[in-house]
Symmetry: C2
Subunit: 493 residues, 2 copies
C-alpha cells in the first residue's frame, strides 16, 4: 500500500490518508479481511505522528470500513452482505502482497463487468442494433481490398493523417476550428484522460472536477497521486462562484469537465458558464480538460459551442469520443490541444503505445466521408429520445414516492436519487440477484461519496427488453425502499 501525501495541499493530512485507504477498500483494491499495517508501522512509513494514524483508523472504523481485533491487528471489514463471488479468492502468490502499487482507486474497474446475458443499465453504451454495422462492414471490406497494406503498416504515432483531416471537417460543424496538426488520435477518450493525467499531473497537484463525475476519470487522476477537489453543480452546470473560491484556496492545476449531458447527471454547462470557466482558467493559468463523449445525442437543442471553441490561448485540451455513437469496436477518440501542451501529449502517446492501430482508424473513415453520417446521427437521436421518453414514463408510473431523477436533454443516462438514508450499493446487491446492473452513485464521487444516487443507462438494452427491465428494476427498488430499516444507513460502500 503506497500512500501519497501532499504536504502543500490545503487538505488535512489525516483526511488525505483516510480517503486513500477508504478508496482502496471501496473499490476492492484492499480486499475484505486483508491485514492493514499497524499504527506504528504506518506512522513510520509515512513519516507522520502516531496520533494522526490513530485518528485515521478511528474514522475508518466509525465508517465501518475496518475492524480491530484484539491482539491480532486491524483488518478490512468483512461484510457478509457483499456477494461472495465478487471477492477475489485466487491467491497463491503470497510474496506479491508486499509489492507496493500506484493504484489507489479503481472504482470504475469494479463495475466494468460483462455486457452479455444481463439486464445492463450500467454501461454507457448504445445498443448494437442502432449502429451502422452492416454498412461499415462493407466499407471496411472495400477499404482493405483497395489497400491491404493498412494491415501491415504502423500509422504515425499522432494518428492517421487522413483521419485527422477528416475530423477537422467534422469538428467544424460543431463550431470547432482545429488544425489536423493539433489533433492526436487516442484509444477512446479514456486514453485521452490518461495521457493528460500522466503527462501533467503528479503528487502535489490539485484537480478540480464536477461532483458527481465519470468514475474512471477520478480513478485515473487519483492514480497519479492527485488531490481531487469536487465542484458542485446546479441546473447550468459547475457553480462558478464556488469554482472561484476553489481557485483561490486550492490553486488547481487542472479542471476536468463534461459540459454536454454531463456524466452521470445529464446537466449541460450553459454558454455563459463556459465563458466564465475559461476566463477563470486563464486568470489562474489552469488547464481545462473538456470531455465530450456524446454531444451529438441532443434531444432538444444542440448544446452550446464547446469551451475549446472559445479558447484562443491553448488552455483547453478537448477530448472527443467518436466510437460510442458509431463504432464502439474501434475505440477511437480524439484529443485536440495547442502549443507545447500538445507536443508533450504526443510524446506521451509514443511512450504509452507508439500510436493507435491503423486498422481501426481507417475503418471508421468511410462513414465520415459519406452522407450517411448525418442520417445516422439524426436517426440515433430520434431513437434515443424515444427510449428516454419511454423510460421516464415508466419511472413516473412505477417508481415509489421519494425516488427522483433528472430528465436528461441528451446523452445516454438518467441520474436517479433515492431518499438519502438509503444506500444504492445495497440496492445493487438486490438487483444483481435478478441479473440487473447499474452504476452506483458512490463510484462517481471522489471523496466521501453520496450513497443515495445511481446512474441508469437507457440506451444499451435491446428495445424489446427495455420495458421489462425497467419494470423489474422499479419493482426491486420499491421492495428495497419498503424493506426493514436495518438496511438504512448501511455500511456497504
Amino acid at each position: 500500500m503506497k500512500i501519497e501525501i501532499n504536504r502543500n495541499a490545503n487538505i488535512p493530512i489525516n483526511q488525505q490518508i483516510y480517503e486513500n485507504i477508504a478508496d482502496r477498500i471501496r473499490s476492492g483494491a484492499l480486499s475484505e479481511g486483508e491485514h492493514l499495517p499497524s499504527v506504528r508501522s504506518l506512522a513510520k512509513q509515512l513519516g507522520i505522528s502516531l496520533l494522526t494514524v490513530v485518528r485515521v483508523y478511528d474514522l475508518l472504523e466509525e465508517k465501518d470500513l475496518i475492524e480491530r481485533v484484539q491482539g491480532k491487528g486491524t483488518f478490512v471489514k468483512n461484510k457478509l452482505l457483499i456477494d461472495a463471488t465478487e471477492r477475489n479468492v485466487k491467491n497463491n502468490f503470497d510474496w506479491q502482497l508486499s509489492v507496493l502499487d500506484y493504484l489507489p482507486r479503481t472504482q470504475f474497474g469494479a463495475h466494468y463487468g460483462s455486457f452479455e446475458n444481463c439486464i445492463q443499465f450500467s454501461v454507457a453504451a448504445i445498443c448494437p442494433s442502432l449502429l451502422p454495422n452492416r454498412y461499415l462492414e462493407r466499407e471496411i471490406h472495400s477499404t482493405l481490398k483497395k489497400n491491404p497494406n493498412i494491415l501491415s503498416s504502423y500509422g504515425p504515432a499522432q494518428g492517421d493523417e487522413e483521419l485527422r483531416k477528416t475530423m477537422c471537417k467534422y469538428l467544424r460543424k460543431h463550431n470547432l476550428y482545429i488544425n489536423h496538426q493539433d489533433i492526436l488520435v487516442t484509444n477512446g477518450t479514456q486514453q485521452g484522460i490518461d495521457l493528460v493525467a500522466k503527462t501533467f499531473i503528479g503528487p502535489g497537484d490539485v484537480v478540480a472536477m464536477e461532483a458527481p463525475t465519470y468514475p474512471a476519470a477520478i480513478d485515473t487522476f487519483r492514480a497519479r497521486g492527485a488531490t481531487i477537489v469536487p465542484l458542485p453543480m446546479d441546473n447550468d452546470g459547475i457553480r462558478i462562484d464556488h469554482l472561484q473560491r476553489v481557485c483561490e484556496i486550492y490553486k488547481p492545476k487542472l479542471i476536468y469537465t463534461i459540459p454536454n449531458f454531463q456524466n452521470p447527471t445529464g446537466i449541460v454547462l450553459s454558454r455563459k458558464r463556459r465563458e466564465q470557466l475559461l476566463m477563470l482558467a486563464q486568470e489562474n493559468q489552469i488547464i481545462i480538460v473538456e470531455d465530450d463523449p456524446w454531444s451529438e445525442m441532443f434531444f432538444d437543442k444542440k448544446p452550446p459551442t464547446p469551451i475549446k471553441g472559445l479558447d484562443t490561448n491553448g488552455f483547453v485540451i478537448y477530448l472527443k469520443g467518436l466510437s460510442k455513437t458509431l463504432v464502439p469496436g474501434c475505440r477511437i477518440g480524439l484529443l485536440a490541444a495547442n502549443g507545447t501542451l500538445f507536443n508533450r501529449l504526443v510524446a506521451s502517446k509514443v511512450n504509452t503505445d507508439l500510436g493507435s492501430p491503423l486498422l481501426t482508424q481507417k475503418a471508421i473513415l468511410p462513414l465520415f466521408h459519406s452522407k450517411r453520417m448525418e442520417d445516422h446521427m439524426e436517426k440515433l437521436r430520434f431513437a434515443l429520445n424515444l427510449r428516454k421518453d419511454k423510460v421516464v414514463k415508466l419511472l413516473n408510473s412505477h417508481m415509489p414516492d421519494g425516488v427522483h431523477w433528472i430528465v436528461p436533454t441528451g446523452g445516454l443516462n438518467i441520474w436517479l436519487s433515492v431518499p438519502s438514508e438509503w444506500n444504492t450499493n445495497h440496492l445493487l446487491i438486490e438487483c444483481k440477484k435478478e441479473n440487473i446492473f447499474f452504476l452506483p452513485g458512490s463510484a462517481c464521487f471522489s471523496g466521501e461519496p453520496e450513497k443515495h444516487h445511481l446512474r441508469l443507462n437507457f440506451t444499451y438494452l435491446p428495445d424489446n427488453e427495455l420495458e421489462m427491465g425497467i419494470l423489474k428494476f422499479c419493482k426491486i427498488t420499491k421492495k428495497f425502499l419498503s424493506s426493514n430499516r436495518q438496511f438504512r444507513h448501511s455500511s456497504i460502500n
Copy 2:
C-alpha cells in the same frame, strides 16, 4: 521542469539531477536556447544546497549541454550542427512553458518518425510485402460478415476471450503454459511496459535493465520517476555476477529484460542465465518483466524456454508482441502474469483505456486458427535470414576498418559500433541529408550514453531497395570516419 529526487537510492543526488536535466536536453524535451532556472531557484525548488546545483550545472557545461551567459542566465546550448527543421519553432502559448510535466525523457519519440519515402533503417518493423495482408483481408471480411456486431461491441477490458484462449494454445508451442484467465490483451507490448510501469513503479523505485536496451522502455520507466540501473551483457546476455551486486547495492524492484535477440544488440540470454536470473529475482523478491517481441524470428535455432516458462511463483510478467510479425496495423500484444500482480494490471488497463478495440482482436484470430500461421512464420524466418546474410555480406565488403557489428542469430536488427571517439548522432545528421534513418545508440542507454553505436534494421526496406540503401549508408559512414577530426569528441548528444 519537474525533477524527482530519490533520497533513498544509492545514487548521489547531484548525479540524479544531472541525468534528469541531461535526458531532457538530449531528447529535446528542453529545447535549445531554453532558459534554465537559476542556481538559487533550483536549489530552493528541490530543497538542496546551492553547491549541489552548482556542481550539476558545472557538469552539464563540461558535457557541452548548457551554456552560461554573463548577466543573462543559463541556457540549453544551441548546437548549430543539429538540423534546424528538427526544432519545434511553433510556440504562441507562452503561459504553457511554466506548466510542469512528468515527461523527463522521450528519446524514442524523437526517433519515431515517418515510415514513408525514406531509406528506413530506424524502425524495427517488417516490410509489408512479407506479411499476409491479402489473406487476412479476406478473413476479416468473412469474420465481419458473419458477425457485424463486432463493430458495435466493447470487448471485456481484459481482452476478447476467444483470442486469449487461442493465444494459450499458441504460447504452448513455445513452452509456455498459461491460462487464458491470466492473459491481458494490450495495444502492442509498448502498452504492456507502460501498464507495468504505471502500476508498480514510482519515484524511489529502482529498475534494472540491460545496457543498451529498447529506448521506449527507458523512457517509460523514467517517466515514472524510476532510477535506472544498467546491466552489462556478454555473449550470453546479462552478466549474473554483476546483477548479483546490483541486487545487493540498489535493491531493484523490477528487472526489465529482452532475452531473445535483445533489442538492440541481438544477444540471446542463455538457458542457464535465465534460471539464474529467475533465482536471483525470487531471492530478492524482484519482479521480472520479460519482453518478447520476435522470438519466432530465429535464424539458427529456437531460443531457450522463456523465463516465464520456468516461473512457478508469479515473479515474471511476460509481454508478447504479436502484431510485428503478422499484422502491425492491429497493434496487438499480450501480457501474461499471475496472482494479484495480474489483477492489478487489469485494473490499470481499465483506468488506461477500458480495453483494446474488439475489431483488431477479432481481426488477427483467423491466422492463428489456420495452418497458414506456421507456414507464414517459416517463410518469414527464411526471408529475414536471407536479408541478414545479404546485409552482413555488404557490410563486410564496404564498411571501413574499425566498424564492427554483432551478426544476429534472430530478430530484426544489427548492432554496429564505430571507433569510440566518433559519435553516431553526428553520423545520423550526415545520413539524413541523404534521407537515410537509423537509431543512434545513445538513445538506448539510460544514464551517460555510449555514443559510438547504432541500431540498423534490415527487415523493413523493400527487397529491391535494401542493397542500394546499405551501400549508400556504407559510403556515408566511410566518408564520415575519414572526415576532419573536428567532429570527433563531438558535442552532439
